[in-house]
């Protein structure tokens, strides 16, 4: 079983490293087409990363080692997320289970590393972006924990692999009110965590509104490539998680060559479809004011909390 878990983990990392830039490219292209622009094509993020990886980074004078280590930490935390989440298959490692708290703390490592990178260059924008980023992160973490906790109650385990497995075995719990509330709360939290509309606008560099871009503004060359790839991987992996929670069919539960191929193809299709849906939804959304972001996140927290209470009260 341990070999099956390792093969699936390698497959997940390989698939998502190829898929993540493509997902971002598809999202940008769909948005461009919906806005009446031609768009740069779906492979543009890949070309950007390749170009950036060939360039040496320019770092601010007096910056510490955090500026070197931070981008790598962001990338590693996202890769670890790809290893642990049940994306292609639900066969878990025995030693490191894809437990809810493990996942959230791995995500937190990336968040903190990114905030430190923003602070380290010592510019006003970087510090502003980091402070906003940490504010949002502090509000998002409880929602993430609570919503996955609500999903874990019917499955009887806080391991994400087992939750997906339980939803595959008994599909009627997918449309139960608890699950729907928790998925909505989780979706809002993930939109905030990955810096999508309505919390952050990924396509702008306007100083009044940007969160994520403000931290990357001083990064260049290789550093920028790692940071971008890390955030894309995180977006793709979390989209994959939501897709597997809503439509669990196709994940590998019994290890085999054909099952692995099927799992790879279905997860790629699910993530791409979800990304297109997300982009189409985003076209109709405007970014909310920064001071109203806590209101939105408190709303999602309340939804997650109601999901937990409802699952205890009713079921």
């Amino acid at each position: 079983m341990i070999w099956a878990a390792i093969v699936i983990a390698i497959a997940q990392v390989a698939v998502f490293v190829v898929l993540a830039p493509l997902v971002v490219g598809v999202m940008r292209q769909v948005r461009a087409r919906l806005e009446g622009r031609a768009g740069p094509g779906v492979w543009q993020p890949w070309r950007d990363v390749r170009k950036l990886l060939r360039k040496n980074p320019v770092r601010a004078q007096g910056s510490s080692g955090m500026l070197r280590a931070g981008p790598v930490a962001v990338l590693v935390s996202s890769l670890l997320l790809c290893v642990l989440l049940p994306l292609v298959g639900t066969i878990p490692f025995d030693l490191i289970p894809s437990d809810l708290f493990v996942i959230v703390s791995v995500m937190l490592i990336g968040v903190v590393a990114l905030a430190l990178v923003g602070l380290d260059s010592g510019t006003a924008f970087g510090g502003m972006g980091s402070s906003r980023h940490m504010t949002v992160a502090a509000l998002v973490e409880p929602t993430l924990l609570l919503s996955v906790y609500a999903l874990s109650i019917p499955a009887g385990s806080s391991t994400l692999s087992l939750i997906v497995q339980a939803r595959l075995d008994t599909p009627e719990i997918i449309i139960s009110p608890v699950s729907v509330l928790a998925i909505v709360a989780l979706a809002i939290a993930i939109m905030a965590e990955t810096g999508r509309l309505p919390v952050d606008n990924p396509g702008t560099h306007l100083e009044l509104t940007m969160l994520h871009e403000a931290m990357l503004i001083e990064a260049s060359g290789r550093d920028l490539a790692w940071l971008e790839l890390g955030s894309w991987l995180k977006l793709a992996a979390l989209l994959g998680l939501v897709a597997n929670l809503v439509v669990p069919w196709g994940v590998v539960t019994d290890f085999g060559a054909f099952a692995l191929l099927l799992g790879t193809v279905t997860i790629a299709a699910k993530v791409l479809v979800l990304a297109v849906l997300l982009t189409v939804g985003e076209v109709f959304l405007a970014k909310v004011r920064l001071f109203q972001v806590p209101e939105l996140l408190a709303g999602s927290f309340a939804l997650a909390f109601l999901a937990v209470t409802a699952s205890y009260l009713v079921a």
Binding site: E172, S176, P177, V178, L181, P294, E295, A298, G299, F301, A302, L303, F305, L306, T309, A310, Y312, L313, V314, A315
Partner: protein, 219 residues
């Protein structure tokens, strides 16, 4: 009806009731609150119909139709009976900001759960297990009554309170006799009509029903 289906349907209805109550606290616009109230009335009627179908009581089905007519259709229609253009612009500015209000709702839900489990004990039946949701709706109704400034938004809080009382009644004891239910429903309809006429006259006379500005007498 099988037991698992019954549990799921009761869960769906009570979940909708709780969700609409929380959303009423979240949204500021009056039109959205009225729509949520209508959805809540429909969910309550569905809950009563589910309980009636499980216990094979034709009377409860009749009561559910009555609830659908009054709480799902008539009351929201009375409240929204105004040109859509003016009602669309009415925005509430509550005393409590939405973040604090939403967190208060979660605390009230915990309180309801603790109180009900101490008071009657959560029995084995599905209905009494879901009873805390009714109490949570009552407490949320009180919260709306306290924190809203306008008379008509407070009216929505009052109706949420009434829905909560009805939910508790149906979940714990399988409902009240038809005659009583008919009386209570008509009573509430009448109260809402009178209050609505009052607020209309007050707005006509004084130009607003913000209770903060109604402290002194006007000539």
């Amino acid at each position: 009806m099988t037991d698992t289906l019954y549990t799921q349907l009761v869960g769906l209805c009570t979940g909708t009731l709780l969700l609409t109550s929380a959303l009423m606290v979240w949204r500021h616009s009056l039109l959205a609150s009225i729509r949520l109230l209508s959805a809540q009335g429909v969910a309550l009627a569905a809950l009563v119909a589910v309980i009636g179908a499980q216990e094979n009581e034709a009377e409860l089905i009749l009561v559910s139709l009555l609830i659908l007519a009054t709480k799902g259709v008539a009351l929201p229609w009375v409240l929204a009976h105004q040109t859509k253009a003016t009602i669309r612009t009415i925005e509430e500015s509550p005393r409590l900001n939405p973040t604090a209000a939403l967190l208060t709702v979660t605390l009230l839900t915990i309180l309801a759960y603790v109180v009900v489990s101490r008071l009657i004990g959560l029995g084995t039946s599905v209905g009494s297990h879901a009873a805390p949701i009714g109490l949570a709706m009552i407490l949320t109704g009180f919260l709306l009554l306290i924190t809203r400034r306008r008379a008509r938004s407070q009216l929505i809080g009052f109706l949420l309170l009434d829905n909560g009382i009805a939910t508790v009644a149906f979940l714990t004891s399988g409902g009240v006799p038809l005659l009583l239910e008919l009386g209570v429903s008509l009573d509430v309809l009448l109260v809402v009509l009178i209050l609505h006429v009052f607020t209309g006259r007050m707005r006509h006379k004084f130009g607003g029903t913000d209770v903060d500005q109604l402290r002194e007498l006007h000539d």
